[in-house]
């Protein structure tokens, strides 16, 4: 091959480079290679797996510091927050407004009455402090309920 102009111009440097000794592979190169191929462990030497990188001290320390700072911030924020109410310790709020519908009127609690047991067998409840609703019945409804009461009483008397 006839050398070109550049080959002649840089003849000395080309000769120096050509005279450099040839570097050879290590003696166990092929055995190492075949061992890696046969074991299927292709990235054993050259590449580090990402999960190995994750646990390097250079990455683990900043990550741990970040996590610690987050925990600290949440700890202090928690102290400043309003404590939630314990539903077992607070008194129920008493309704003051009274809603009214067509024939069913809702009343606040009546004056307290307390008796242990009435003579005719019915029980009265102490209504003090309670907040329950009472429905006003008309005469026909009251009569119907009274009739039902009489029937129940008669039933129990028959049983006795």
């Amino acid at each position: 091959m006839i050398p070109g102009y550049d080959e002649v111009r840089y003849k000395n440097i080309i000769n120096l480079l050509k005279q450099m000794p040839k570097i050879t592979a290590p003696l166990n190169f092929e055995s190492d290679l075949m061992r890696r191929i046969n074991s299927g462990n292709f990235n054993e030497n050259y590449k580090v797996k990402w999960w190995d990188k994750l646990f390097l001290p250079s990455r683990l320390i900043p990550a741990a510091a970040f996590a610690l700072s987050i925990v600290t911030v949440f700890y202090f924020l928690n102290f400043n927050s309003i404590e939630p109410e314990n539903p077992f310790l607070t008194k129920p709020k008493i309704r003051e407004t009274v809603a009214q519908t067509s024939n069913k009127q809702i009343f606040p609690a009546q004056t307290p009455e307390y008796t242990e047991a009435s003579v005719n067998g019915s029980f009265r409840i102490n209504k003090e402090g309670l907040n329950f609703l009472q429905i006003r019945l008309n005469a026909a409804e009251k009569a119907k309920i009274n009739k039902l009461k009489e029937e129940i009483k008669a039933y129990f008397k028959r049983k006795q």
């Binding site: 550049d6 840089y10 000395n12 080309i14 450099m20 570097i23 050879t24 075949m34 050259y46």
Partner: protein, 195 residues
Amino acid sequence: MIDIKLNGLTDEELILEFQQNNTVKAYEILVQRYKNPLINYIYRFLGDYETCADIVQETMIKVYRNKDSYKSIAKFSTWIYTIAGNLARTEYQRRKRRNIFSINSYGDDGETFDISDESARPDVITDSGIKDKIIQKALLKVSDSYREMVILRDIQELSYEEIAEVTGIAVGTVKSRINRGRNQLQKLLKHIYKD
């Protein structure tokens, strides 16, 4: 008998045999043929023997795993040099980035790094061992894009067309880069000519 037959095959025939019949012996012959040229190429480019052995092993593994991606339209040598070159360039860039963050700065222009002491290696020792070390050190000071071309042309003795194929650069650019690299080397090694 089969070994003798396989040894007589060209690189392209061997890789075809490995592709079609999964003949591991054909692959082993290819490894035998290319391990030393690739070690020489990568060592001259990086200047670190341990790393260059790892890169060549990685190259061979890539050939083994991706044998089917080789197309017979290209020469096997260009294909394997391309793989090795890509890995070497990646490693070089990785080292360069590491050197930026490192306290130590290597070389005068920050582009190069120290050559490990290979004086104890018998395959490196020659009568002109010191001279070789000086040339290697100078080679590492040449810009990496020029250095690669110079090594492929003047040390590995590849043709301009092959270098263009390996690096994916136009032949004209390859020629100009080689000359620029040689020019840089000439300036760095002026004192050696006087000997």
